[in-house]
Subunit: 334 residues, 2 copies
């Protein structure tokens, strides 16, 4: 047996510095500068309006972290950085830090011990589930590039051997891409999107940009309070349940069940850890985000979700891993 090592400890302790280095590089648009061929520290510094010494040190650090490669005194992007961190790439993900490193999230993680003592967020008024919390406009704008793949996958999960869906309810629609994906696949489908008013502006912009504006209507307000009617063929409940305790989730699922037509389907997108709650890593680790940012949210196992859905009236809940997201989808029959 090898001697104990403090390596994981120090690697984790210095994690915040790696995050900060990456954030700094994105703010300077350094990956784009290098991608454009500004290969030396001096050239990239001129392009970014920064000091050569600073760019040299940051580029060396990014090389150590694996974001750049270095040959002599010349830097180049890795294939991953070229795909996701060069602003000119269609798959650019740098904008996601507007959400993932937003002040509200960073603030929530300043005092993890406090959240553990309390059993929930220390942020005022319900944390990120407070009415009209500005983080959801950020989320809608910043995380959109992550959602195109999963949105397509969700559409594929709803069977088309039945008549195609005509009425789609998109609850906490955010960027709107999930509902919009249904509208694009089914030319006669009409989408009703529910979210805070500021968020719906983003969703409506996206619906217009993607050519489905005339079949896209919105209801502003809390999903728990608004009247959204009934007779829907599909209800989308994406990245929503994890913000709430099980009783609140069940209340929402009951409302969703009542909104669906007979034979209608709910599609739930969630971080679903295995029964051990410590795998797979992205889903299991997500629970701490809910502890720190909400009063009572969690990442629920499939058994827990299946129980909530069943008590709300759903039958035949099936779990589907997605290729393009750490979340999984649950398709439920009303």
């Amino acid at each position: 047996m090898s001697d104990p090592s403090p390596e994981l400890f120090f690697e984790t302790v210095w994690g915040y510095q790696r995050t900060a280095a990456l954030k700094g590089a994105l703010e300077l648009d350094l990956f784009t500068a290098v991608g454009e061929g500004n290969a030396t520290a001096a050239a990239a510094a001129a392009r970014c309006g920064a000091s050569t010494r600073g760019v040299r040190i940051l580029c060396d650090h990014l090389t150590v972290l694996g974001f750049l490669v270095k040959d002599g005194d010349r830097y180049a992007l890795t294939p991953d950085s070229a795909a996701f961190l060069d602003r000119r790439s269609p798959a650019y993900l740098g904008g996601t830090v507007e959400f993932t490193l937003s002040p509200a999230l960073e603030e929530a993680f300043r005092d993890v011990a406090g959240a553990v003592r309390r059993g929930g967020t220390g942020a005022a008024a319900g944390g990120t589930v407070a009415p009209d919390h500005p983080i959801w406009v950020r989320f809608a704008r910043a995380m959109m590039p992550m959602m195109r793949g999963p949105a397509e996958e969700l559409v594929n999960l709803v069977p088309v051997d039945s008549p195609p869906p005509r009425r789609v309810l998109d609850i906490a629609a955010g960027h709107g891409l999930f509902g919009i994906a249904f509208a694009r696949r089914y030319p006669r489908a009409e989408v009703t999107a529910v979210d805070w008013a500021g968020v719906l502006e983003v969703a409506r912009d996206n619906a217009a940009a993607l050519g489905v504006a005339e079949r896209y209507r919105t209801i502003a307000g809390s999903a728990f309070d608004v009247e959204w009617g009934a007779g829907y063929d599909v209800a989308l409940l994406t990245n929503f349940l994890h913000h709430f305790d099980p009783a609140t989730c069940e209340r929402m699922l009951g409302k969703v069940h009542r909104a669906l037509a007979p034979g209608g389907r709910a599609v739930t997108l969630e971080f679903v850890p295995n029964a051990d709650r410590v795998s797979p890593a992205p889903a299991a680790g997500f629970s701490l985000v809910m502890l720190c940012t909400t009063p009572a949210g969690d990442a629920y196992t499939f058994a827990e979700l299946d129980g909530m859905l069943g008590r709300a009236g759903f039958t035949r809940n099936t779990l589907h891993p997605l290729a393009a997201a750490p979340q999984q989808a649950i398709v439920s029959l009303a």
Copy 2:
């Protein structure tokens, strides 16, 4: 060739949350609680004065990160966590976060882009090299457990075939462990420790605790300004040069050279990257810490250090990797 992956990007983005989770666990003394046998979330929560829900979520997160193992609903420490994160262990390292996650360091990393633009810290008055900066008392107290091994290694690097050293100068002594190790090895050696007054209190406490108080004298002030006399057999310059630009380093090395007796030796401890400046990772990555916390500090290659030492009058500079630290030692003949 595989498709590009955003995995490294997101892993790095979420680094601050991993740091925060670990910091929270140390503040709660959760590792000690689990190490004592409080194996369930409820038992550990009672021990830590925290909520069961919060402890369950944090313990699951720490299991995902590799600090705990989980079997059913019972948690246990990994061998590494037992050795370094349980407060009852003699090798406990949890206290190092008082330095590594100190407000001054965290603050310095809030705006990496600004440091890159400027080419140095944005902190007032010289950053961490400002006179009497309180971070050095923190460093002396918090990082001591990391320094015992390297201090022993440094003593071993000074040959004993010459007459044993009688006068040892410990520049920027910090916790004092390097000089103290010489005093303990050589019963007739006297140590002169130089540092800010507040830091020297820590060093003197350690000298007393380790039984060498009567051979330990101190000079408070800046190493650049104080009169430390001449005729030393050994001068220790540990974790010092990287805070300054090369010209300032050379000025200090000249002063050190003049302090040494003929045949005396300087022992320099530094993060020394290879000539490529991107390996090995701990030494190369350290440069960014200097960019963000000092006006002009850096991690110097051996060729650079050898040049500075040579111009200051030293001959035969030899580089020695250490087993117990990411730094390397350079032994130089006066």
